[in-house]
């Protein structure tokens, strides 16, 4: 009996696994989720790329026609020059990062190296609330407080209208501050504690440790944070549109109105019809915006690789 029982037990080992186990549903579900995400990204990329070239394919405008500073989609001579928008996006984003990056890195340093526990307990939730404020609110604040302030108090500096490149950059710099700060902070926290203690043991001051150990060690993370801030700023539409005045000419001065890719797309998309040249040029602008953020993503990957080698 015992032998038979043992044989039966052994035979049990060779029974094919239950259907449920063979299907391994959880693995398939997560695989499907990942696969559909990748598929959606590629379908979207393909669609935007396809629509983005329709101005040249379907409407027959030469590619050179968009490389112009004249935006005149309705009045003859018709010109779809997108350079004012590209320059505007780069300009407003660049100045925003120039304002925001030093502040954010300083704030991250404070949180990571200087702040006592209670201060961190106050600043971190404050930052998270900051992130949660919708962009339309920032734009609205900019429109009701910043623009009139610039016009009345800094009129002498050239802010004749208040709506200006500087106003757009300032609003953006506040919006990207939490992004840059939190990612830089994580980069600082990821630097091994041994490096700090080792450095301090050599008799350096806290500033010397930060300057010569921490900042170089967290260089890749800091740059990643700045590039992420840049892409976030470049893609922002609503808040910027409300304060820059949307003047479709090349940006001339920080104190004067200008325009961006995102803001022109939102201004024109509801009034143009699908397939018409003035609608297709908006897709071309979207494609350019996508190219800008893809370059940024590639830059981040390159930074992270070089950061890993250090």
């Amino acid at each position: 009996m015992a032998v038979v029982g043992e044989a039966a037990g052994l035979a049990g080992l060779h029974v094919r696994p239950a259907l449920r186990d063979r299907l391994d549903l959880p693995r398939r579900v997560v695989f499907l989720a990942a696969a559909s995400m990748v598929a959606i990204v590629f379908v979207l990329l393909g669609f935007i790329a396809w629509q983005g070239v329709q101005l040249f394919v379907q409407n027959g405008y030469p590619i050179g026609s968009v490389i112009s500073t004249t935006w005149s989609p309705q009045d003859a001579p018709i010109s779809f020059g997108v350079l004012p928008f590209v320059a505007g996006t780069i300009g407003v984003t660049g100045v925003a990062v120039l304002i925001s990056a030093p502040l954010s890195i300083g704030l991250a340093l404070f949180l990571s190296e200087v702040a006592p526990r209670w201060a961190r307990a106050v600043v971190q939730p404050a930052l998270e609330i900051f992130v949660g404020i919708p962009s339309v609110v920032w734009g609205w604040l900019g429109l009701t407080i910043l623009v009139p302030f610039l016009r009345t108090n800094l009129n002498g500096l050239g802010f004749t209208l208040g709506f200006s490149w500087f106003a757009g950059s300032l609003v953006l710099s506040i919006m990207i501050l939490p992004t840059i700060t939190t990612i830089t902070y994580d980069a600082f926290r990821a630097v091994p504690q041994d490096l700090r203690t080792g450095s301090l043991a050599l008799g350096t001051t806290r500033w010397q440790t930060i300057r010569h150990i921490l900042l170089p060690a967290a260089r890749a993370g800091t740059l990643t944070a700045i590039v992420l801030g840049l892409t976030r700023a470049a893609g922002e539409a609503l808040a910027v549109q409300m304060v820059i005045g949307n003047r479709p000419t090349m940006p001339t001065s920080l104190t004067q109105p200008m325009t961006t890719l995102t803001s022109q797309i939102t201004l024109d998309m509801g009034n143009t019809v699908f397939g018409a040249p003035d609608n297709n040029v908006l897709w071309t602008m979207g494609l350019i915006l996508l190219a800008i953020s893809m370059i940024a993503v590639l830059l981040i990957r390159k930074l992270n690789r070089s950061g890993g080698r250090r």
Partner: protein, 304 residues
């Protein structure tokens, strides 16, 4: 690490919120709320011929307050029907009706002026109302009550750049334009400017009647053009509205034709309408809308 993930979660959530805020702000008509409150509830007019089903009307934000109010009144009388009204702009309305995504496309301009001929030929035009626009300026522009067509041309093309040149205070003129694709801008350009190009390089651009109204109130010396429905209440009190060639910008003057800055609002269908779409368009042309809702919403009947 978990803290990092949590923070990224917050970032992602904020991004989603921002997107949601963007899209809702872009599609919500500024006057939608005022529209419903001004709508009389049927009143003494004959009840509409009821049909059942669900239809969607999409497009012009200038026409939206009227269509929205008519939709609400129709559904109140005919509970078996659902009428969904959305904005999005005239271009969106024409695209969606031509592609069959919406039953009705609302537009300030004719389909022929926006769509390619084969698409436009499939659409049937239903003119439903006359809508008027008024030239407005910031409150600090005093001493000017009337602008002639010529003065408007000089101001909008940049030939005149200071209010003192047209009898106002010594104050630079700030043009606030709509995007080149806007129906309001196209109408104003055709009727008042005679097709002349606006001075883009000295102007600001705002994308809706509501945004323009806010900007003109806030910017000294600014001038723009808004729909009658938006020149009401507090906006009216905080703006200077001009006569055009000595004619007051009123619904009565627009209806009689002496005030020339007006255009017909169109509702397009793909082919001849049937069922609820036809019943609703018939209702738009009935006395309940033409004599009841239309004056209440500051439009004029399409057939005087």
């Amino acid at each position: 690490m978990t803290i990092g993930i949590r923070r990224f979660g917050v970032l992602a959530m904020a991004a989603t919120l921002a997107i949601a805020a963007c899209s809702s702000a872009a599609t919500t008509p500024p006057a939608a709320s005022s529209a419903s409150s001004a709508a009389p509830a049927g009143g003494s007019f004959a009840a509409p011929a009821c049909a059942s089903g669900t239809i969607t009307a999409v497009g012009s934000t200038a026409l939206q307050p009227l269509v929205d109010a008519a939709g609400k009144a129709y559904v109140a009388a005919c509970p078996a029907a659902t009428v969904t009204v959305n904005g999005g702009g005239s271009g969106t309305g024409l695209t969606q009706v031509a592609s069959g995504a919406a039953n009705i496309g609302d537009s300030d301009v004719t389909a022929e002026s926006k769509l390619a001929t084969p698409d436009a030929a499939t659409l049937v035009d239903h003119p439903v109302a006359k809508q008027g626009w008024i030239v407005v300026a910031n409150k600090d522009v005093t001493g000017v009550t009337n602008l002639t067509t010529d003065q408007n041309k000089q101001i909008w093309t940049g030939a005149v750049t200071n209010w003192k040149q047209v009898g106002g205070p010594d104050l630079p003129i700030v043009l606030i334009l709509r995007p080149t694709s806007s129906g309001t801008r196209a109408t104003f350009k055709q009727i008042v400017l005679g097709g002349a190009s606006e001075a883009n390089g000295q102007a600001l651009t705002e994308d809706s009647n509501g945004a323009v109204t806010t900007s003109v109130q806030a910017t000294p010396g600014s001038i723009s053009v808004i729909g009658f429905a938006y020149y009401q209440g507090t906006a009216k009190a905080n703006l200077v509205g001009f006569q055009l060639d000595g004619v007051d910008a009123t619904v009565a003057n627009m209806a009689s034709g002496v005030y020339k800055l007006n255009a017909v609002g169109h509702m397009y269908t793909k082919g001849q309408p049937t069922g609820l779409t036809k019943a609703f368009l018939d209702y738009m042309l009935s006395d309940a809308v033409q004599k009841g809702l239309i004056p209440a919403q500051f439009y004029a009947p399409v057939n005087p």
